[in-house]
Amino acid sequence: MEEIKRSGLRGRGGAGFPTGMKWSFAKADPKFPKYLLCNADEGEPGTFKDRPILEKNPHLLIEGMVISGYVLGSEYGYIYLRGEYPAAADILNAAIKQAYEANYLGDNINGKGVKFHLAVHQGAGAYICGEETALIESIEGKKGQPRNKPPFPVNVGAWSMPTIVNNVETLSNLPYIIEIGGEAYSNIGSKECPGPKLFCVSGHVKKPGVYELPMGTNLKDIIYIHAGGIRDGGKLKAVIPGGISTPVLPADAIDCAMDFVAMPKAGSMLGSGAVIVMDDSVCMVRVAYRALKFFEHESCGKCVPCREGTDWLRKVLARVEKGKGKDGDIELLSDIAEIMMGRTFCPLGDGAAGVVMGMIKHFKNEFEEHIKNGRCALSC
């Protein structure tokens, strides 16, 4: 536990909560059994970082989970895998079987008296189940709708027991921390959020893909050095730095470090490290509309601000995008987004509102042109 705290590891799912702190809460709770859930419901559009771990290196994750189980005093772990990854399900199940056969999982691991059992639970297509309390509801066989907090899952989680929910990438960092030690690990990347991070770059770059780089790598370097720059000679217009729920950054604001501390200062969030790059052929109104279509589809319907807010944002964006926008629509969009912000059950609503606010903040002129001219200046 001390080693994990010393490493400064922060959750890689998007919120960036210090892992050691989360664990100490669950460990301090006297209730048993404790459960360890791995969040492999990678659904944030733009994010495809966990898939390579699940499909190419499942034993890394299993090792990470055994270590976590040992530290937490948890004897049962479950991997909540999204339904859209059937190949990963087969691979994980095969890897778990191998681990049982090699006695790395079971009642008495390698004769050391440590007990840890692991199984895969496959989801069935619901983005919201990436939210930890919705994930817990889902693994209990209910609709995946978030719970009110507190109590937090570390005290009352799955099956009403203390539960730790960690992202695939977070758990996969543990074997390395144990191997090199927390202090050495904390020297990688930026000071406040150390360690390596998987960045997934998609969109208009020459070499899209998953890149493992030190936390705090400059966003500009990720795009221009690692991902090879903008493809087809295009000019950079905007970047969504951490998956679709994070506010967009215009081209002149990308000179910033990618970590949980620096990104909010730059006006966005690190999120899952999913960098979506857009060149100057992209209509931002269209991107905003498409993003809201997603949020409206995935809103679980539990709380009113999110259910109604995403629906209205999508409707208004749809008419602006089609050139049928009215005067005052931009104010209407801002208004709806502001009402949603901070008033929804879980971060899905905040994400949706933040996207619209970010788009209007940086690309207001495009919205105005759509409304004034009745069409897109980019003729798309």
Binding site: P33, E42, G43, E44, P45, G46, T47, F48, R51, Y76, Y78, R82, G83, E84, Y85, P86, A87, A119, H121, Q122, G123, A124, G125, A126, Y127, S138, I139, E140, G141, K142, K143, G144, W159, C200, V201, S202, G203, H204, P208, G209, V210, I240, I244, A274, I276, M278, V282, V287, R290, A291, F294, H297, E298, C300
Partner: protein, 162 residues
Amino acid sequence: MIDENMRQTIEGLIKKFPCRDSAVVPSLSYIQKVKGHISENDMEDLAIILQFPEARIFSAASFYSMLKLMPKARYHIQVCTNVSCSLVETETLFDHISGKLGIGEGEITPDGLFSLESVECLGSCGYAPAMMVNSEHYENLNFKKADEIIELIIKEFTGKYP
């Protein structure tokens, strides 16, 4: 109807978790895998096996987008149209496939071979455009590649090119 064989598999799924509730979604996914979709009868039977009210089974079955309560085609094509994919023109890919098969969103071809759906992120953002045919991912697509995949399926089924 859930037969004895399936019932035993479901009992196996129940054993994986600390309580029976957790087997709802895995059982529904399993029923769909075997039968193609989940009928009302299946949900009634599952309710008896799991010892739950039917309403709870139905509430879960209707919530998750991958669970299908209506029959679908033998080959269910899902085209991702989310942001990363639409940046590289998947909406036109969807239209292309739609035109080729002569069916729109959520429709089934008359021969029951294909159904088409536009979906949210498939986790292939870096290898866009992407689609899934049943449980198989296809990435870095273009019109020609998509045509080839569809034609291959048709060829396998009818023994001739369209």
